[in-house]
Assembly symmetry: D2
Homo-oligomer: 282 residues x 4
């Protein structure tokens, strides 16, 4: 048709090959949204479960190219393997389907997870794509997100009082600044002495946030036939049956964990995440 | 923190100033999704209403910068005014929130529109941003989308038989090709003679698709107090009360219409859409 | 070969269609370069001629797609017609060849223009690509550059004294600030009263900078057969013979002028520059 | 001024951090240019020296961030260290100044290198920026360029006959295709048996192309005080005096070599090239 020339205004947005593609989504105005839906402060366990339930649908949508996801508060990060060629690595195709699937699953699974609390209005999430050229940069990105989670909890829990809008890019000098500069150990010390809270007793879900990992271990590792999601030491077990989308194919086992991902232990245990690429990765 | 350097890997994606920003979303695999949810073929009126219901939430989310939306089949296009500075014109911020709001509202409003037919799995939509530098290019884009809708209906309705997966970028020689090259008048002639269907009796919703327009007429123009969405000649009236988000502010009236947008008539009637920008637009 | 995969890391950088493509080059550290080569202050006529001589080679390299160039001081801007498809509008192909041709021609033509003053070291120019979606934006861009030239001359000539490094993006409060805010008329008044200089006697070359324009007038307009560069009222005539590259094809006449391009007069006289595009331009 | 708004149309083009930035320039239409200037076929030693003389000015312009350059035929590639922050990694600033300096130096040094053969017209070079995320990708890029040089010489020298336009991206089935698929050893065998040429006697300059490397060895390694460019085994020694720009600062020694860069030997000898970055490089 005479109008079809307009297609040529769609420009190519392929991502640089052999780089880690990270898509991060973050709830829009969740300070207000969580108040309007009376979320437990500072952490609402069912709500955090719902975030992970939506994230698992995203991981399934892009199996097996999406190798890891990490979520805390109202955000989730999704990591595509370095060599992925899904949708010819078109940034918009990946980012739009991640944030769309997350939003649609969040609303879809709300009733089954949030019980009596009805969803009053459809939430909005933003999304962005960031490329990380080296394994070191990717691990530092994930450490940044987990450290952000680690810093916040003691803050909101004891020092700042519930409901203090904690902005990830808070520059100004706030109590958060004071806490940010105190060592982790001292923080827990202050929490305990001043507020009688033993931070380590807090559930791992609140302290560590949630990691969804597709580890390409040999099938033998799969302990229970039933569940495609096996529990790790301090991870929660999610029965396969409940997951509308399960992944039994020999393309790996999806685990949901609440553990540290800043140290090397996690990465040694799930070496396929980083090494799952051919020699061109190095 | 020592990890914060990773923020500098987020590159700037501001759109070229003084250009029309169009975000188009399109259902992923809706051939299968519509079959799984037994959509009426080729057009399922409630489903098309649901698409528009979700689109109205997007238009409301970005009021008053989102000046027009056009939808047909499993797609919707959203047009931001040329001079918008919302989110500093960051492409990801606009595209991600459009596709996220659309997806979340689609699932949220499904029960109230689709009645007995339960949503069986959360749908996925893709999204993309396209810039159009001139008014002529923007009108040709919208004509391309409405022409695409116009072409398909007779196709699926009579010639191709229900369920034929109609791909917008279908290159191969199919019946659609034959029809595409016959003039509109002849198409209707074939439909009538060969299949006894009088195309013009089809509801405008199927022939024209749906236009949501924010016209900055003076409030006085608003005929019915009840609805913030006033019907135009062949447009459907949507009672304001039902819209969880209505827009009464003097930033314009949102109308939902099923009319031609290829000719000049629509554009003369809603001149503020194109001219709503200051002189720098020219 | 097993190494050829590296080609896929070259990403597409096509410019948005139907937009004006402007490439601006600017001498690197010309404050020092002009001192080292004892340029007349504030304007060295031969040096400004050399800039134009190099620019004409660039205009010729990209005939007929490069429709206008404007230069002043150590910079030159080159405007590609809105509909150009040269090198599939790849930004790097256009920008790199413009700045390369300019640099190589600048050095090549130096001896014939600068006479006794030998070039002591090879200069460096930077280059950038900027897109302008509308005719109004393009004219405002060119007005910005000519206004920049207009402001500087009185500055360096009388008020600031020679050699004051005049930076195009000078933010700080300098004499230039005081002058910038005084009206053009007052400026000339100050120059005359305080420094006895009648600004209007200055050659147009210094006051207006230089415009190279390819006007697609009918061949009949070409007054002298000999020269492909015809002089306009206050423009300098450049004999065709001297130009190693002349352009006699009926694709237009290249004129070198020193005239105002902020007002409408120039654009009415050379209407083909803006209108040289088909209807899709509007 | 009222026109200054046009500055905001200049969009940000920072390169992804912690990635190798490669700028490759290539002569435009050098098949014709080399014929017009009667270059020796297939390799014109002075002309290849001139390419390297221009490249050394580029390496000097960006010292110490430009860590390596590799050139053959009418092309040169320049590698910026992974962590460079020069010009805030703005792609246009780096690419434009590389191709501008190369072009201006090529013309500037022509007389002193090409002797009697006068430059008849100013040449044009194109330029492009390519990012490589890992050390492996960078080494494969450089191997691709040296392999390209290696393949061509026997081709032009004996098999194809001088002057056969050899295009780097030649797809069609030509004699080059036949040779490309024969092993290196066999190629030399054919050259020797059919054309009586012992390829290994060819100067390294023709077989290997030229590497300019800034190795951050301690100054002590500098054998001759005179020359800042020390010769390696089969490299050519360029007296410092002749280089208008020499680099004596303790930021490393610039060497000009004609050696293999596909194997590990070169990289072990000049380990600072790859490892010159802090731990974030990995
Ligand atoms: N009560 C409660 N609040 C939560 C929970 N998870 C997240 N939030 C709230 C705390 C923060 O105010 C907010 C997340 O911080 P953000 O920086 O994303 O703020 P917000 O989404 O309001 O602004 P944004 O639109 O992202 O810029 O969500 C939860 O489990 N319980
Ligand atoms: N039965 C029925 N089908 C519809 C209706 N609206 C859209 N569809 C179907 C017809 C097409 O097969 C499909 C839209 O065409 P697309 O080119 O978007 O195909 P699809 O979404 O399957 O593939 P995609 O993932 O977008 O590449 O959705 C409707 O109202 N009723
Ligand atoms: N004496 C003299 N100087 C000139 C002439 N044309 C340009 N210049 C000098 C005046 C300014 O110092 C300089 C142009 O201003 P710029 O803002 O481009 O400064 P410069 O090139 O030094 O810095 P840059 O590397 O572009 O950021 O060149 C001329 O005809 N005569
Ligand atoms: N005789 C001779 N020719 C050379 C020498 N170095 C390069 N050339 C010629 C051989 C090739 O025809 C040409 C380089 O190949 P290209 O693929 O760059 O071709 P060309 O520059 O003509 O086309 P282009 O504008 O780059 O697409 O330059 C030399 O030392 N002697
Ligand atoms: O909209 P904001 O303030 O969240 O802006 P942002 O780019 O999302 O900032 P951040 O990455 O810190 O959330
Ligand atoms: O995934 P597809 O095939 O739809 O690819 P696309 O880029 O979305 O193509 P189109 O714009 O034709 O839907
Ligand atoms: O290098 P500079 O300071 O000239 O930086 P720039 O981006 O070139 O700035 P301008 O466009 O003002 O010359
Ligand atoms: O202009 P060409 O044909 O050389 O196109 P190119 O993008 O430069 O191709 P190549 O990278 O193969 O030189
Ligand atoms: Mg944010
Ligand atoms: Mg948020
Ligand atoms: Mg958040
Ligand atoms: Mg599609
Ligand atoms: Mg679809
Ligand atoms: Mg569709
Ligand atoms: Mg500058
Ligand atoms: Mg300058
Ligand atoms: Mg300048
Ligand atoms: Mg090329
Ligand atoms: Mg070439
Ligand atoms: Mg070449």
């Amino acid at each position: 048709s005479k109008y079809e020339y307009v297609r040529h205004f769609e420009l190519d947005d392929r991502c640089l090959p052999n780089s880690w593609i990270v898509v991060r989504i973050d709830g829009k105005g969740f300070h207000r949204f969580t108040n309007e839906h009376s979320f437990e402060k500072p952490n609402d366990a069912p709500a955090l479960e719902l975030m992970t339930r939506a994230a698992r649908d995203v991981v399934d949508l892009f199996r097996p190219d999406l190798v890891l996801a990490y979520g805390q508060s109202d955000e989730y990060s999704f990591v595509f393997r370095r060599q992925t060629t899904v949708y010819r690595r078109r940034a918009s195709k990946l980012m739009s389907q991640v944030v769309s699937q997350f939003s649609s699953s969040y609303v879809f699974h709300w009733p089954s997870v949030m019980g009596a609390r009805a969803l009053r209005q459809p939430p909005t999430f933003d999304g962005r794509v960031v490329l990380y050229p080296t394994d070191r940069n990717l691990r530092d990105y994930l450490s940044w997100r987990q450290a952000d989670c680690h810093i916040n909890n003691p803050l909101q829990h004891g020092l700042l009082g519930a409901g203090q809008p904690r902005r990830s890019h808070q520059r100004s000098g706030t109590a958060e600044e004071r806490l940010r500069h105190t060592l982790a150990a001292d923080k827990n010390e202050i929490l305990f002495s001043e507020f009688g809270i033993n931070y380590n007793d807090e559930p791992a879900l609140y302290r560590k946030g949630t990691v969804i990992v597709r580890s390409l271990e040999t099938p033998g590792e799969q302990d229970s036939k039933l569940s495609s999601d096996t529990g790790a030491p301090d991870g929660s077990t999610v029965p396969a049956s409940e997951g509308a989308r399960t992944d039994q194919k020999p393309v790996g086992v999806v685990k949901v964990l609440n553990c540290d991902i800043i140290g090397d232990e996690f990465w040694n245990e799930h070496s396929s995440v980083l090494s799952g690429n051919n020699k061109k990765a190095k």
